[in-house]
């Protein structure tokens, strides 16, 4: 025990000398780790495209910061909590990574955040959806960049109720994310004067949804809300089309959906559908310019909102280091939370709970006739103002907000 104490003191002293000698950056470089799902179920949403986006951000920034090199490493979490946790640890401990960006499923994001918090390094979450990331489970080193379940529930839920469709039935994935999404959307629906007729919970990675959809169908609800993700959402929509629900007087509303999912399903079966995203490539000129450059680097596939988020997060992290003159996590985070962000793709402020508050977009899927090419899948039906799409701080359970 005693020996350890001494060695720790010595190590601490060495570290102090080391940092003061090599100016402001630990290890004389900024190391960025893209921790994402490269081969699992969400790899099309973030995956290899996120690595491309991070590399674009570094090259746009000029390839170096404070005269020192910027390195990018990447690792595959397959959207599993255990891989995410051990890869995050490996990145921080062995590769001296200063910041990790990515994390497309809630379980893997929470696992990586936990490690980042322990080691006092920055974790910028782009892909995961759950509100607890900046609520119950918030920490001082995390920013939730693109969207959360609150925004999805309020964006899509409110918009659909506003069209006069008031009775809902939920088909929900049976895990924390699905439950939260169902609960939040139900509240929005009820607050807007709608009614929830019931819900059915299915195990994750279900193949056949006919049974659940038939229950939703016979409930007579006007809206069938899908509180699931990825392959489950795709499966539900495909089978809803096959069972003749599409085109009937019932509407299927996916609460979490990405442009990549629409591409996998095709426009024939999804046309007219509404879904909420944090960013869409065809919204304005600067988005389109970014998307064009991205497509050149990534097999002609337009960036998803999450991939754009990885670019934005990486770029703003580097800007913060430039501004504060160090890669010290506390100083970088203080800068990020005090300076409004406007990088051409995202515009808004990072709140003290770590939520990046910005506008969200309600998309409507185009019909096959309207679509010019396979990236051209939707129009922006409505811009959801940042204030409506973010949990008010007064309701926050984050310890950084409540102070306990």
């Amino acid at each position: 025990m005693k020996k350890t104490l001494i060695s720790q003191v010595v190590a601490g002293a060495l570290f102090a000398v080391g940092t003061s000698a090599s100016a402001q950056l630990s290890n004389d470089a900024v190391n960025i780790g893209v921790l994402t799902d490269l081969s699992g179920i969400y790899s099309a949403i973030e995956g290899p495209g996120a690595v491309v986006a991070a590399e674009m951000a570094v090259s746009d920034f000029g390839g170096s910061v404070l005269g020192k090199p910027i390195n990018i490493t990447s690792a595959d979490t397959q959207s599993k909590a255990d891989l995410s946790s051990s890869k995050a640890r490996e990145m921080f401990e062995r590769d001296n990574v200063d910041m990790i960006v990515g994390n497309v499923s809630t379980a893997s994001a929470l696992a990586a955040m936990e490690v980042a918090d322990q080691m006092k390094r920055v974790a910028l979450v782009t892909g995961a959806a759950s509100l607890p990331i900046t609520n119950e489970r918030c920490n001082p080193y995390t920013v939730h960049w693109v969207y959360d379940t609150y925004a999805l529930a309020h964006g899509t839920g409110a918009a659909v109720v506003a069209t006069g469709k008031k009775t809902w039935f939920f088909v929900t994935a049976d895990y924390a994310f699905g439950h939260t999404l169902e609960r939040d959307t139900s509240e929005v629906v009820k607050a807007a004067g709608g009614e929830v007729l019931g819900s059915v919970k299915h195990p994750i990675k279900t193949t056949d949804f006919a049974s659940y959809l038939a229950q939703a169908q016979s409930s007579g609800a006007q809206v069938i809300g899908l509180a699931n993700a990825g392959g489950d959402t795709i499966g539900s929509i495909k089978q809803a089309a096959e069972l003749g629900i599409m085109g009937s007087d019932q509407t299927v509303v996916p609460l979490l959906m990405f442009s990549a999912d629409i591409q996998a399903l095709g426009l024939q079966e999804t046309q007219g559908m509404n879904f909420t995203v944090g960013w869409y490539w065809d919204y304005n000129e600067s988005n389109r310019k970014f998307a064009e450059r991205f497509m050149k680097n990534f097999k002609g596939v337009a960036p998803t909102s999450v991939q754009a988020g990885v670019y934005s997060a990486t770029l703003n992290y580097l800007k913060a280091i430039q501004a504060v003159g160090t890669d010290d996590s506390d100083k970088v985070m203080a800068y990020l939370k005090s300076t409004p962000i406007d990088d051409g793709l995202f515009k808004g402020v990072i709140r003290k709970d770590g939520k990046f508050e910005h506008d969200m977009y309600l998309l409507q899927v185009k019909s096959p006739k309207q679509s010019k090419n396979r990236n051209d899948i939707a129009t922006v039906a409505r811009v959801i103002p940042a204030a409506d799409a973010t949990l008010p701080l007064s309701q926050s359970k984050c310890k950084l907000v409540t102070g306990s």
Binding site: A44, S211, Q215, Q217, G231, G244, L265
Partner: protein
């Protein structure tokens, strides 16, 4: 009674029917497994991957093949794929049997299970690498679009077609094995291959063809599934575990047993989805344990 359960009779019938559709897939897949196990004593773990392969080939034929060979207007239609995909998969499986599986017959049949497990992983990995994980959508063939509306319950023609075709193929296979001359040779091969060989029958050839046919059945199920489910590289890997359970419950190697159990369990699972949806994925395993405790050789199996 239905009011007591909180489900209307129509809804109950609808759920039974939906269960029957899944049951048809289970029956087709477990039938192939049972045939293979009966003659080769091999637990064919590749079955799920071959089912995926059948669906993949169907999708590739419709959308990709034309571009690959420089004739973009070429599309392999559904009905052609229904014959072609099982043929290709059957041929592939015969190669696997001839080059690899054959060398394991003298060993404990656990090695057959491990080998086919490995092949399944390779197939799945390759297709995931080529076509990603989100998969692709295969449209319902034009002639089978639409559906019947009975008592407010919508039955797509395509699903009715699946049940019909699956039942037909299952019956044909059963008839072939249990009621024809060739089938009797096959059954004899499972009882006593040496004696049969001594009688001048080419047993290795029968074994090879049986394996090919069993695998072709998996691909056939895959083609039927393509328009219903998203065609992905992993579509077989979750299914295979369930189908194993079906085979074990029915009794390893019993042809009629695997068909009936497949259909029955499809219905049971369908009803679980109504009354305790969270448990739908586990219901079959619970039944399996109960059956094995009461009847060790499965519902229709013979104790060997």
């Amino acid at each position: 009674m239905f009011e007591l359960l909180g489900v209307s009779p129509q809804a109950f019938t609808a759920q039974m029917l939906i269960g029957l559709i899944n049951g048809s897939f289970y029956a087709l897949l477990s039938l192939g497994l049972a045939v293979i196990f009966g003659l080769l004593n091999v637990i064919n773990f590749t079955h799920g991957a071959l089912y995926m392969l059948g669906a993949m080939l169907t999708w590739i034929g419709l959308t990709q093949l034309g571009y690959w060979i420089g004739m973009p207007e070429l599309e392999v239609p559904y009905l052609v794929a229904l014959f072609l995909a099982p043929l290709i998969v059957g041929a592939f499986s015969i190669v696997v049997e001839k080059t690899m599986l054959k060398r394991l017959y003298h060993l404990d049949h656990l090695y057959g299970l491990l080998l086919t497990f490995g092949i399944a992983l390779v197939l799945e990995g390759l297709f995931r690498h080529w076509f990603g994980v989100l998969g692709n959508s295969y449209p319902v063939p034009d002639m089978l679009r639409g559906g019947l509306r009975v008592n407010g319950l919508f039955l797509p023609y395509y699903r009715l077609w699946v049940v019909g075709v699956a039942l037909l193929v299952c019956f044909a296979t059963w008839y072939f094995i249990e009621r024809t001359k060739l089938g009797s040779l096959l059954r004899a091969g499972t009882e006593n291959p040496r004696l049969l060989q001594a009688l001048g029958v080419n047993v290795p050839l029968i074994i090879t063809l049986t394996y090919g046919a069993g695998c072709a059945l998996a691909a056939f199920a895959g083609v039927l599934a393509a328009p219903i489910y998203q065609v992905t590289a992993v579509m077989g890997s979750e299914l295979i575990i369930v189908v194993f359970a079906v085979v074990v419950i029915g009794g390893m190697g019993s042809i009629a047993g695997s068909i009936l159990t497949g259909l029955g369990l499809g219905i049971v699972e369908g009803l679980t989805k109504v009354f305790y949806p969270e448990a739908s994925s586990v219901s079959i395993f619970v039944i399996m344990i109960i059956v094995l405790l009461l009847k060790p050789a499965g519902l229709f199996g013979k104790v060997r």
